[in-house]
Amino acid sequence: MEREANVLIIGGGVSGTGLAYNLAKLGVEGIVLLERNYLGSGASGRCGGGARQQWTTEENVKFMKKSIEILERLPQELKFNILFRQSGYLFLARDEEQLNLLKENVRLHRKLGVETRFLDAEEAREIVPVLNTEGILGATYNPKDGVLFPFALVWGYAKAAKRLGAKIYLHTEARGFKIENGRIKSVFTDKGEIKVKEWVVNAAGAYSKELARKAGVELPNKPYRHEIMVTEPLKLFIKPMVVDLSNGLYMTQTSRGEVIGGIGDPEEESSYNLESGHKFLYLFSRAAIRVIPILKEIRLMRQWAGLYDTTPDKNPILGPVDEVENFLQINGYSGHGLMMAPYATQLLAELIAYGKPSESIERFSIRRFREGEIKAEKAVIG
């Protein structure tokens, strides 16, 4: 194993492997990536695989437009097929409030050159013929959104990174840091110490908080269990990712044919629990069958959980911290890591390689929460 690294990345999910690849592509040498389990064993490999441009804020729409463009060219660039099927995202509205949100989105997206369309219920059924339109007031659809195979993205990044010289060590856990004068000098792993010359990157997903704490850095992130399931494989009958705004249901089919989908539970409390629950089954099956009734005749095959690494404003944390000079964060995606990472890892790689990314990542800085906290405190005192 390498005993010295220029850039040491902790976490073998989409952020870690994507960053390793982007760094290697920019000619950075001495990249070492540590993964305590296997590639994609955290949230990257547990997610639904969706990637969309349909967001509600201008910054995020622009960000995701870039990310989708990258995903479109990645198969050829990585020489690895990530099975990115651009068959759109279909958002469904069931009340006026949701409807207005969708209409506003369409305006925003159009302004930014993202071709989201507004549809009535019947038009939505043309896209998903098995859709139950009862109670649906309207929908939006963007054909460039899509789903990919999450493991393939992680594997593709890792393979390409290795080809370009990055070293990836699986089943190797970062357990602590040697910090001198506000700089990480080395990282202790269960397989020995690795000296760090330049940067240490925290790409540990929901476990980033614990890892950062070992370096004396407090992140505002909180882990939340989110459950998901797949059915038996079937020929494609749900092409887009279908999202029900009334309850947060999302589902589509993988390229292998399994219906894959999940639903949030607003009552779920923060924890590292990864066990499966019956409440998810209840919430999901009812919500899913309401949208696509034929699902009632299809077997659920597997159910599992992953962790959302959630920040207070649901946006990721990218970039340096104040306490430790050479400790970069790329975490806190709050459930959108797979779709944001292609662009986020490119920007962070540029920061490392050139000292400045091609587009400012200041809005993702951890400082935003600290300033926020000061404001909050004032409010309490006031």
């Binding site: 198969p75 050829q76 020489k79 020929k235 494609l236 390229s255 499966s276 009734p293 034929i294 077997r299």
Partner: protein, 521 residues
Amino acid sequence: MPRIREHPILDFKWSERKKIKFTFDSEEIIGYDGDTIASALYASGKRVIRRSFKYHRPRGLFCGIGQCSSCLVKVNGIPNQKACVTPIEEGMVVESQGSIPSAERDLLSLLDALELKHGIQYEKFLGPKFLRPLYFKLFNFVLGSGNVKEEVPKVKFSEGYYPEKEVDVLVIGGGPAGICAAKASAECGARTLLVEERDRIGGELLKQTHKFFGSRRYYSGMRGFRIADVLSKELEKSGAEVMVNTLAIGYLDGKIGVCRDEREFSLVKPKCIVVSTGATERTLMFENNDLPGVMGAGGVQTLMHLYGVKPGEEALIVGSGNVGLILAYQLLQAGVEVKAVIEILPKIGGYFVHAAKIRRMGVEILTSHTIKRAVGRKEVEGAEIVKVDENLREIEGSERFIECDLICLAVGMSPNIEILRQMGCEVVYIPELGGFVAKHDENMETSRAGVFVAGDSSGIEEATTAMIEGEIAGISAALKSGKGRKEHEERREKLKMLLEEMRDNPFGERVVIGKKKMWGA
């Protein structure tokens, strides 16, 4: 393939049974009342039931008990039904999935002839971008298992949350171990529920036609399927509740989710759980090991003894453990010629009496031999076997062709421990016990308090010890749930001694070593 009309032990009473007509890929098939789709198809000479997911290789019956995916079909428009466990009904429309035009003659099997590399989907079809939608259409055309109906059914949801049942002891799996566990637990006064995936309890006993050895208390001298009858009656008397056609789907936030008839979902909240989920037959790596006609020994027994189907004309058996040897005898009883029993090790694995019996009947047992490939286009037409040296390496030039239409794999089983793993029980790898097992103590309790194991799911053994283990686990679970008295504790101690006695022979030694290893692990 004809039905078994004459059998020294079993009488299928064909003349009294109702004939049932259904269609498979538009062709009319006639089966009997009591048949599953797969048994009726097999009896009509239809061995190719589906095509494989990607390369459209022919696939047929393998396990016969719903544990593998080798025989999925579309039934009355509903995709992915297991042909081996779905009973036939008059007028049923059964279709193969994803093949053009039929499972028997699938044009897409050309893909198999191309001998594409594994994982090709990650290396090819990368670009250009404008062709990608076409690639996905192609994937969808080739892949997958059937279509859903496009009509939108009306759905009415039941009121309220899932129904929940509280019990002292839940037993998962109604084979010999599970029945004995439920019976013992109920006799201790514990409120006991047994859930069984299939439509009747008895498990592997149901297809055992041979007389058991072992302890008189555990029905020695009785045939397996009779023991299943007796046990079922005793269980009924004990007061334990039994739910058949009920699958325990998983451990969900402290409760077990169970699904009845694939429709009604409910939760069971037990104080203690006994897992007696049995084992899954292993397959072996060799060329064409998926060819219809290559079957697990248990699958062959199921076909013969539950459905009265003659599984072939000429058989080759791979593996000379007791399962392989007994199967040879049973095949002969069903009128199948057994070409040979082959064994990779230099000595026969099973009891001498079984080996001597089939040898007397003219069956050759070839030790230091293994199977190299199955031969045949759509179904088994023969097998190439080969000699191995002391390091179990194939000896070049020693290949031999055996003509046969059935290859039975009797190469061991692996404990079914999925739900134990999900419950967080510590799992260890013990080859002597059949692979991965949940670590358990003498009272059959796993590392998770209140969760017990018994039978093959605790380590591969045989039916008598499974029954004893089941009783021990049942009593232990009842005691742990606060039921039972001193006398039950004493009975458990006696049972432990009996178990030790039963294992005090050259064949039990392996298990004893395995259990010791497990305790030390």
